[in-house]
Symmetry: C2
C-alpha cells in the first residue's frame, strides 16, 4: 500500500535555506543550484517574505528554481519528509556528529537517493550560520575544507560547491579527453610517412651531422612528434611545412 | 648554474585574469582564491586600470592577494615564465586540445608543481571568455561539468571551483570523521553495562513479553544502541534516563 501523503522519491537533494536575509543571495543560490542541475529549493522563514523581487532579479535564467520554491515556518517542518539532511557548517563545537567532506556527503546522498530516500542540504543564514538546534536535526555535517586563515564562504558559494559535488557524484564527469574537432587523430603510419618525409629533407640539408649523433638526433625528433597526439590535420600541416621549408629557398633564388 | 632571472618554484598555481572588466569581480576572485589558500594573481590589461578601489572594497579579508597582484599587457607576457597553463573555457570549437575536469587539472598541476614546474590557471573576461588565440597558448583546457541547460558561471565562481579543487588536490581533506567534543567514544563495556542496566529495568517492568519474543526484542534494542557510536557522555545521559524513567513514578507515588 502506498501512503497517499508520501511525496515520493526525489531525483536530487533539496536545498534548504534557513532564514536567508537578502533576496539577492536567494537568487544567487538558485543560480548556483541550477548551474549543476539542482532545482528543489525550500526556504525557512525568509526575512523579507516571499516572493522576493530581488531574488527574482538575481536568479535570471534560474527562475524555475524560485518558481518551485517552498516556504516553511521552521527548519523542522522543512525537513519533516526527508530521510537525511546534511548541515553545512564548520566543525561543531558542542555536538557529536559525523563530519563529511562535500564530496563524501554528496556521494552518500547519491547512494541514499538511489535507494529511494529523500535528502536535503541545510544552509544557514548569511552571517550567523546554522544554530545548534538546527544542526542537531541533521544526519551529518558537511564542512568545506577551506583556508583556516580565511574560511568565509558566502551562502551562494557554499551552495555552488555542494551543487558542484552533487553533479560530480552523478558520475559521467570525464577526467580527461582529447577533443579533436573536424579531424581525427592521425594513424601511426601517417606519422611514420611524415617523419620519413622530414628526415629525407633533413638528410638533403645535411642536418644529421656529425654522423655519430644521427641516432640520438633522429630519436629525439621522432619522439617529439610521437608524443604530441597529432591529428590528421596536424600531419597535413606539418607535411606542408616541410615542403615549404625545403623548397622555399630554391624558389626564391 | 642557476639562472638569476629564474623566479623559482611556486607553491601553488598562479591565477591569471585576462582583461577583467569589473573591479568587483577581481575582488571576488581574490576572495575565492584566498578561501582555498591561493595567493598569486596576475592581471592582463584590466579594463579599468590598476589598482582598482572597487576590487579592494570587494576583496575585504583577501587584500593580500590584490597587494601582490602583477599586471601584464598581454596574456603571452603573463604566461611567459610558466611551464604549463590551464585555460578555463567550454570545450573548444576549433582546436585540438586536451580537456580536463577541474579535479584532473588540479591533480596534474599539483604533481607538476611537486616537480618544480610553475603553473597557471587562465580565466577569460566576464562575458566573452577566453579568445582562441589565448587558448592556443595553454597546455590544456579545464572545463567545469555544469548543467548544459544553464552553464553560465561567473568569473569568481569559476575561480572558486578551481581553487577548491586545488585545495582538494593537496590531500589531507578527510572524507569522513566523527567529531566528539569534550568527550570520547564510549568503550564497548560501557555500552554493555548501560544495556544491562536498561534490560534489568525493562525486566522489572515486564517489557519482554511474550517470552518467545524476548530474543528478538533484546536483539533489536542492543543493535539500536550499538550502531549509534555512543560517546561516554551519551552513555551517562542514557543511564540517567533509564534511572529517571524507572524510579520517577515510584517517587511520585
Amino acid at each position: 500500500m502506498t501512503d497517499p501523503s508520501d511525496p515520493g522519491p526525489l531525483p536530487a537533494p533539496v536545498s534548504i535555506l534557513v532564514e536567508p536575509q537578502l533576496g539577492e543571495n536567494i537568487g544567487a543560490a538558485a543560480r548556483a543550484m541550477w548551474n549543476f542541475g539542482l532545482s528543489a529549493m525550500r526556504l525557512v522563514a525568509p526575512r523579507d517574505g516571499w516572493p522576493n523581487p530581488q531574488a527574482v532579479a538575481m536568479a535570471s535564467g534560474a527562475g524555475r528554481v524560485l518558481d518551485g520554491a517552498q516556504v516553511f515556518d521552521t527548519s523542522a517542518a522543512a525537513m519533516a519528509d526527508l530521510h537525511a539532511v546534511y548541515a553545512t557548517t564548520a566543525r561543531p563545537r558542542e555536538l557529536t556528529k559525523r563530519v563529511l567532506s562535500p564530496e563524501a556527503a554528496m556521494r552518500e546522498a547519491a547512494s541514499r537517493i538511489a535507494e529511494g530516500q529523500r535528502i536535503g542540504i541545510l544552509y544557514g543564514p548569511e552571517r550567523a550560520g546554522l544554530a545548534t538546534a538546527e544542526i542537531v536535526l541533521a544526519s551529518a555535517i558537511v564542512s568545506v575544507p577551506s583556508n583556516p586563515e580565511f574560511p568565509s564562504l558566502n551562502l551562494a558559494q557554499c551552495v555552488l560547491l555542494l551543487s558542484y559535488e552533487w553533479r560530480r557524484a552523478q558520475g559521467g564527469v570525464v577526467a580527461e579527453e582529447l577533443v579533436t574537432n573536424k579531424t581525427g587523430l592521425a594513424a601511426g603510419e601517417d606519422v611514420t610517412r611524415m617523419l620519413a618525409h622530414l628526415e629525407e629533407e633533413l638528410e638533403a640539408a645535411r642536418f644529421f651531422f656529425p654522423e655519430h649523433k644521427r641516432p640520438s638526433m633522429q630519436g629525439n625528433l621522432r619522439n617529439l612528434f610521437r608524443r604530441s597526439a597529432l591529428t590528421e590535420q596536424d600531419v597535413r600541416t606539418l607535411r606542408g611545412v616541410i615542403r615549404a621549408l625545403a623548397e622555399g629557398p630554391k624558389r626564391r633564388r
